[in-house]
Symmetry: C2
């Protein structure tokens, strides 16, 4: 989705590039705080971080999109109410505990918002709460209230990067992207590595701008940008109970609506790809371009079926061009949806190599070697278990932005879509078979 | 699904039990053959096995169900034609290559059928072909034709077990189940370990009976039995291009229709659970009982959403009662389908422990320890990587038939369903990241 193609040789190099993305738009400040605590539901201590994003003064120009999961977390329930409020002035985010299906969750979120508002001289409903982490546990509210003053004291107007780091959970590195809309800036941060098939998915995204555009314009632009970015990715099909994308404007700089929409979409697409590339255990980002679909919903569904097939994902992980699994995945989705493509008109390709055409696959050892080279060239890192047999990613930065490129032409119509997904690896299993301990 | 609960301490013990299941019904014989070959599309040699199931004389009483994948393999295309034939006399099955999307696939399948028919004194259309294995490669037809005489020469009327072994691919052990319907027997064999979400999945199942019932009765009974068994399981969501369930009767013994239907359903349910338990990398079989759904389709969809959630699957693999992921998976499916359960009426439990009730989760360290014990008690084996970091299952028999038991009560209606699935493990990734090499 990104038009750029970056590569980084080290965490320091990636970090230097992140700094170039991180200048806050006019009218915003960012702060963080952290503390140790022991959840009531477990007996192991952990560390929670708070991230605070604040406007110099509350704004009427804000927008948000939330998960469609039927059991949304308390912050999402509160956030939906905030959409009707006249102004928003701050966002307070915690990691470690998502405040979903926890007793007294809404009250807990409101207490944290009230304390932030009091310290910032705002109204409680001018503060948006966000949480990400374990489902079902209660927030350590008292400990959070004690930490709010430190978060407020750390507010600075220079960089969003500390906040981008504070919202991380299993993310390997922070995600920050920016684009200009004339004189105005759009700067976004994201966290999210697992439970990612935004619809929305636990993905938290905060987009800050100083573009002087009204609330309704922001809301329409955000809906379009989310649909064209976060709703086209999947790490593991699991739509979180906490997904949130929020957009706030300080309205300090003039901006043309078209340029702003383009900048917002670009930042959202770049962040969406960042989320996939940093997905739990991801070795390969996979882009599926679907064409010839009867409508866009079908095109998206075909793309999602490919990137969500465990067998396709494992084959990609192993740099194994087991392209029959691609045929099976597309055929499964078509069968489920009652789509009946003529096999003679279907075309599939990987890395520019045509695999299926005229109703039959075109496989030979030479083509296989070229496909292996394409897969290996898009690999972010190699697996290697540690002494205990656990697989942990050896990098904490994105070495490059290359992708496995898959094309599927259905021959049924004129609609298309581009979907981003990832492979399925030992590192994903290691991460998720023992996430909490 | 099985009413029995078996356990086995060794492969020999499991094998002895399989023998008790394997006596062929009257009027059937089974044979096998094998040979080395090198596929045209690759440069590594492999071994292909043929399994031959033959009736003493062709029967008018047969039925079959095939995959709904939109790109079915050549054997499925041929098999659908066979359903209209007056009689069926034999089934010829090969492993290693699935004959899907391969140039000249239908002609290749027909050539093999014709040779089997010639050797058995039948018509070509009285032979049903089946194939399982790599997609897109061509069958080694000449080598298969040379092997047919050996398969015919090996036909014997004693045991179906050699055929159950010959159809295996990544299966760890053969699957045979039987039930009686009065004097008549129903004996089934199955292969299938990955690409399993039958709808149908590459699952091949052959059901042999001597019950004297007509074709239409068999077809209705098979449709009902498949819907109540194989369509309620998932290993990895991937619906194969080759799924086939075939039922043949020699009509040698009297049988009441009701008793036959019950026996057929029991054999199908037992085989379905066997397929899940022997699924690629499976450490835990998971049974989800859904109640309070508005209709059965919704109940099944909720059950499938739970067993197909990668995060739930990884949590189960790690004996980690990360039950928030269960809430997220159910909520995701409900959100997608527009189901709006009242959180206060939703109830979820695992291993008999209530987890969610009255709108909040009930978690504490003592409950967590009981959940861990339930998960550990249902574990088939522990993971341990070999020196190269590869994970291979240490057993080639099913140590027990215990399951992780999950209950979901939606409070929306009166419909329910039981779905079987499995966890997601390092062994699945090892198996599928390098299946062909």
């Amino acid at each position: 989705m990104s038009s750029t193609s970056l590569s980084f040789a080290s965490r320091a190099e990636h970090r230097a590039w992140l700094e170039t993305q991180s200048a806050l738009p006019e009218g915003f400040r960012a702060g963080t705080a952290g503390f140790e605590f022991t959840p009531a539901e477990a007996d192991k201590p952990g560390r929670m971080r708070l991230a605070l994003l604040a406007l110099d003064r509350p704004t009427d120009a804000f927008a948000a999109r939330f998960t469609r999961n039927a059991f949304p977390g308390a912050p999402v329930i509160v956030g939906r109410e905030r959409l009707a409020a006249p102004r928003l002035g701050a966002v307070i985010v915690n990691n470690k505990i998502s405040n979903v299906a926890a007793p007294g969750g809404v009250e807990a979120a409101e207490r944290v918002c009230a304390e932030v508002a009091r310290r910032l001289g705002m109204e409680p409903r001018e503060v948006l709460p966000s949480s990400t982490g374990v489902i079902g546990w209660r927030l350590p509210v008292e400990r959070m209230l004690e930490a709010v003053p430190a978060a407020v004291a750390s507010l600075q107007a220079r960089s969003v990067l500390p906040a981008a780091e504070a919202i991380m959970t299993t993310d390997l590195y922070p995600k920050v992207r920016r684009a200009q809309a004339g004189e105005a800036a759009v700067v976004g941060i994201a966290k999210g590595a697992g439970m990612i098939e935004p619809n929305l998915a636990t993905m938290l995204v905060y987009l800050l701008t100083d573009a002087d555009l009204p609330r309704e314009t922001l809301r329409e632009a955000l809906a379009a940008a989310v649909d064209g970015s976060f709703n086209l990715i999947s790490v593991d099909t699991d739509t979180s109970t906490s997904d949130t994308v929020a957009l706030l404007s300080s309205r300090r700089r003039p901006a043309a609506e078209g340029a702003f929409r383009a900048a917002l979409l670009q930042v959202c697409r770049d962040l969406a790809e960042d989320v996939v590339r940093n997905g739990e255990g991801v070795h390969h980002v996979v882009r599926v371009r679907v064409g010839g679909a009867p409508d866009q919903a079908a095109a998206r569904a075909v793309g999602k079926a490919v990137v969500n097939s465990p067998l396709v994902k494992c084959a990609v992980a192993g740099n194994d061009p087991n392209v029959g699994r691609l045929v099976a995945a597309v055929g499964k989705l078509c069968g489920e949806r009652g789509l009946a493509p003529d096999p003679a008109r279907v075309r599939m390709a990987m890395g520019g190599e045509v695999l299926l055409e005229g109703g039959a696959m075109r496989l030979d050892p030479a083509r296989e070697r070229r496909l292996v080279a394409h897969l290996a060239g898009a690999e972010l890192y190699r697996s290697a278990p540690d002494a205990a047999g656990n697989f942990r990613p050896p990098v904490d930065f994105p070495p490059h932005e290359r992708r496995v490129e898959i094309e599927v032409e259905l021959g049924l119509g004129a609609a298309g879509a581009e979907v981003l997904g990832a492979d399925l690896t030992h590192e994903y299993v290691t991460e998720n078979a023992d996430y909490r301990s």
